[in-house]
Structure formats: C-alpha cells, structure tokens
Symmetry: C2
Subunit: 206 residues, 2 copies
Amino acid sequence: MKRDQSTEEKIKAAAKKVFMTKGFDGCSVRDIAKEVGSNVALLNYYFRSKEKLFELIFEGAMSDFLQSMIAVFSSDLTLKEKVEQLIDKEFSFFLEHPELPMFILQSLHQNKTDAPMPSHFLEPIANTGIFEQFEKAKAQGEVRDISIRNVTLLLMSNVHYPFMSKKLTMQFHGITAEDFDEDLKKHKEIVKELITNYLFISNTKA
Amino acid sequence: MKRDQSTEEKIKAAAKKVFMTKGFDGCSVRDIAKEVGSNVALLNYYFRSKEKLFELIFEGAMSDFLQSMIAVFSSDLTLKEKVEQLIDKEFSFFLEHPELPMFILQSLHQNKTDAPMPSHFLEPIANTGIFEQFEKAKAQGEVRDISIRNVTLLLMSNVHYPFMSKKLTMQFHGITAEDFDEDLKKHKEIVKELITNYLFISNTKA
DNA sequence: CCAAAATTTAAACAATTGTTTAATTATTTC
DNA sequence: GAAATAATTAAACAATTGTTTAAATTTTGG
C-alpha cells in the first residue's frame, strides 16, 4: 500500500526536469536519482525502467502540449477570435514551459517513442468542432482557400519555433536573453496580424 | 604522411551521418566505427576524441546551414526578390538536408557546443550588405516598420520548423510522409505570399 | 506492540562507454 | 629492398551505463 504519495511524485518531477533539459540520451538514471536526492533503485521500484519512466514523462508533456489548444477551441468565439486567442495562449503557455517544443520534437525525431499519437490526445481537439467551424467559414468565403493542415503548420511554425531557436537566434544576432524576450513579444503581435490578415478575407467577420 | 586521404573523409562522412540522425548523446563512437567499417581506435587516431570529432561535424553543419543564405543575399536583386529567392532556396536546400535544422537547434539547445558563433560564419552575411539594403528600404517606406531581427525570426520559423516537425505533424493529422511533402510544397508558397505581403508596402516595388 | 507489508538503501551485476596501449600491417623514402 | 614512418588493428583500460539483488528501514494493520 502507498505510504507516501509524494515520493513517486518527486521522482516524476525530477525526471521531467532532467529529461526535458537533457533529453533521454543526455542523462543517466543516476542524474535523476541525484535530483530526487535518493537512490537509483528507487526509480525502478516505482517505474520499471528508464524507458518506462521516460514514456510517462513524454506522455504528460505531449498532453500539456496539446491541452493548451483545447480550451481555446472549445470556447464560443468566432474563428478569427479563436486564432488570435490561440496565439496569445500558446505564447504565454510556452513562456512558462519554453523547453516543451524542443523536448517533444526532439523525442519524436529520434523515435524515443514509437507509438502513434494516442487517440485520447487527438479526439478532444476534434471534438471541439474546430475543424467543422473552419470548413464552414471557408465555404462561406470568410476564410481563404487553404487546408486546415497548412493552417496548423503555419501556426505551429510561428508559435513553436521561436522557443526552440533561442540559442541560435541569440548567437546569430549577438543579443542577450533579454533582447530575445523582447523580440518574442513583438513576434507574437506580428504573427497575430500576419496570420489573421492572410487567413481572413477582409470586410467580413469570420 | 597521409597515405589515404579518403579514410579521414570516410570517418567524417560516417560521423556526420550518425551524429545528424542520433545526436551526440544518442550514439557511441562504436556506432560511427561500424558505419565506417573499421576500428574505434581509428577515430581517435585522426580526431582526438568523440567531442573533437563532433565539433568538427557541427561546424561544418553550421557552415552549410548559413551558407545557403549568402548566395541569395549577395546577388543583385531587389529586397523583395531576395526574400522570395531566399525562401525558395532554403526550402530546396533543406529538402536535401532535412535533418539539419533539428541537428543545429538541438546541439545548441543542449550546449553540445559552448563557443559563441564564430565571426567567420556571420561576417560573410553582414558583408553582403543585406542589412543596409533592408534599412534603406524601410527608410524609403517600401518596407513595413519592423526590425531585421523580427524578420529573421519570421523567416526562420517558417522555413526551419516544418522540417523539424515532420513526425509530429504526421502523427497529429494521421498522414503519410507523402502527404506531408505535399503540404510542405504548399507551405512554401503560402509563406512566400504571406511574408512578402506583410513586409512590403503595396504599390511600391522595394 | 508486533508481525507483515511497503519503502528505501547499499552493493553488485553485466554491458557499454570513450580512450589508450601496444602490436601488426601498409606505405613511403632513400 | 630495407629502414622509417604512417595507418590500422585487437585488446585492454577504468568509468559509467541501466538493472537487479538482498538487506535494512519504515509504515501499516490487527
């Protein structure tokens, strides 16, 4: 029977921190144990292996990653408002979890998780009816003729990439982290205007 | 004295392939040796250590990464033409080196290379006069009032990210690699229109 | 309070890591 | 062609890897 709930949670928190910053290959189980302040064997006592622990962390991260979209989509707003809100919400979310995009994409890239994305991640998004709302707006000529997949790629590019490219951008321009954060704010506003201007046909409210 | 130039090159090629796909932490020197078809000791005979070998590969990758920009910038085109050409060229370049953006950003992210970007990477770009051309166009009202850093972030986001997000996007939409490649082509055209429309004030040719 | 169960630990496991050594093979040089 | 040099190899190095074992400690339940 569980004696102390917080031990398992402490390990998960430590694993999340370490995996997120160093990646699966970039850390050892002893790194995580040190972060917890306890023994290596404890990790395998609660979670059966480094891989199992990672999968757990990854799933949680993926969940967070997608969750931030759902609230916006299931609200009662126009499509244009949803796009604007999505950009706002995603930016403030990633400001608090700046390592998330890199962690997700890198883990997928190196097949650290082979399974296809579980439907319990994707169904909630589909269930918001956002796709139907988009197709309807397109049919009514409120929205440019563009596939939802290309809209997604456009949004993700402009929302995820900046948080992955901090080091590159700072080195490229020779600027400080503070400078970069300023650019980030500006970028958000640019992207909002850029994308809504492009997507939505003027003189109608979608 | 060198007996066979191609041995050193074969190791570099193998190291590039392995590092690019698996990352520094994701592979062992024996993985590379196996790819070469020879002994581990040979790697340290030509390059002193795994780290030194990696730094060499990384620098080459970064050089390629930036090189693709320079040709466009130093050409004799209008700013708008340069932006359009840059997007075209970058896309065809990354179609041939799709792992490059992920490799660069991931390596920087995990401080696999600590050194700041050497000036011999950045100076050639500055020497093309692209920055001056941009500021001039801005002063003449041909270009929207936006910083060059934000333009860069915009371009990089839309050009680099798609190649990093292939797995995520495929899983997210449940599509095949062929589907994704189609989306990529479309994305390029969208981005070209999107960005030029946004940057350049209409009824003038920048 | 005491046995049983759950938790935590230290220690050891074999396998793998990057690197080095020393011996072998191939090439160059005169 | 023989001595010298360069290239390549197999083997071993100590350190680190993920995992397991078995003992110690703590908590639980009667």
